[in-house]
């Protein structure tokens, strides 16, 4: 039984670098990630083509507006900041992980080396989730430095006292690792459980487990983006008084 989409290799590109030869594998993770990315790109481009300001909007425009409004409200309530600089990153992470988790239910067959392989979602591979977590942790650094300057950012690691510097670094690294492993473990265990129960009791139990997987696959992107917001806003320090007032006036305007 395959437990990771990394093991399903479609094509190998041989590379020789520094007198050593190795191969870059085009595996299920890469194919799935790019498939989802292309699907999302063309889907949202198709939707946004006929957006309008009137009340006579299409259903898909309504859907996108609900999604964006939800993300904005979450960002403003959790980060206590204006949502504009973060909505691209957080929203992309949320939508990508959500769609990737939901594709776990699609039974897409692939023929690899004359044997039948089934589609697995890219989030059930540790490489994808580790990549997403690297994106989040590096954006913590970028946003923090943009806000506070380089020295202001690194001051965070020497608080409350300079002896705690190694522990602060460790907690930064472990929060990134746990972000990756949480998503990977949840999605992988859901798929694996469905596979094992399919061997034991086909027809009924795998369906129930897949419904549970759908629930976990809906909650996990929310968790991932909420934790990304928490880490980024912790890296940026406390919001200043003027920022808070700006946010308050923005929220009042909306009402």
């Amino acid at each position: 039984m395959k437990i990771s989409p990394d093991e399903i290799v479609f094509y190998q590109i041989p590379v020789s670098l520094f007198n050593r030869t190795f191969s870059i594998d085009i595996n299920m993770t890469i194919v799935g990630t790019w498939g989802i990315m292309i699907f999302l790109f063309f889907f949202f481009r198709h939707i946004t083509k006929d957006f309008n300001d009137s009340l006579q909007m299409t259903r898909l425009q309504n859907m996108v507006e609900v999604l964006v409004k939800f993300l904005r409200e979450q960002i403003e309530s959790i980060m206590k900041r204006k949502a504009d600089p973060f909505i691209c990153l957080i929203g992309s992470l949320f939508i990508f992980i959500l769609v990737a988790n939901w594709t776990a239910l699609l039974p897409i067959p692939f023929i690899v080396d004359k044997s039948l392989e089934w589609y697995m979602p890219p989030t059930s591979s540790i490489s994808t989730t580790a990549g997403l977590s690297i994106v989040v942790m590096s954006s913590v650094i970028v946003y923090g430095m943009k806000k506070q300057g380089i020295f202001g950012y690194f001051k965070r690691f020497f608080e409350p006292i300079f002896i705690l510097f190694p522990l602060n670094i460790l907690s930064e690294i472990s929060s990134g690792v746990s972000l990756a492993i949480r998503l990977y473990g949840n999605i992988m265990s859901g798929g694996l459980l469905a596979g094992i129960l399919f061997v034991l009791a086909p027809f009924f139990l795998p369906g129930l487990i897949n419904i549970y997987g759908l629930l976990a696959g809906t909650i996990q992107p929310y968790i991932f983006s909420v934790l990304a917001m928490v880490y980024i806003s912790a890296g940026m320090g406390d919001p200043s008084e003027s920022e808070m007032e700006e946010l308050m006036s923005l929220q009042l305007e909306r009402i």
Partner: protein
């Protein structure tokens, strides 16, 4: 069959089962406590239900991740055990 291999297999299987079994206890108790408290708070303050629910989801995921770590160790022990692979490759040589 080499007895060393058998012992590696036995130790891996027992280790995986113990990891999942013991690793499930803590998160299960913790999630129960968190849910209990959240339900009590929701019953007291129904207006705050949406905030409580979203906080509950996040804390659930944090609690669950400890169980996921245990599961991951068990999966590594069963499906890609480094000691087993090392022993097998040495015997083949």
């Amino acid at each position: 069959m080499d007895m060393g291999l058998v012992w590696i297999a036995v130790a891996s299987i027992i280790g995986a089962s113990v990891a999942v079994g013991l690793g499930g206890i803590g998160p299960a108790l913790a999630e129960g406590m968190a849910t209990k408290q959240t339900l009590a708070s929701m019953a007291q303050q129904p207006d705050e239900a949406s905030t409580l629910r979203s906080t509950l989801f996040v804390s659930m995921a944090m609690l669950e991740s400890t169980a996921i770590y245990a599961l991951l160790v068990a999966m590594i022990l069963i499906f890609s055990n480094p000691f087993w692979n090392y022993a097998v490759s040495n015997i083949v040589r």
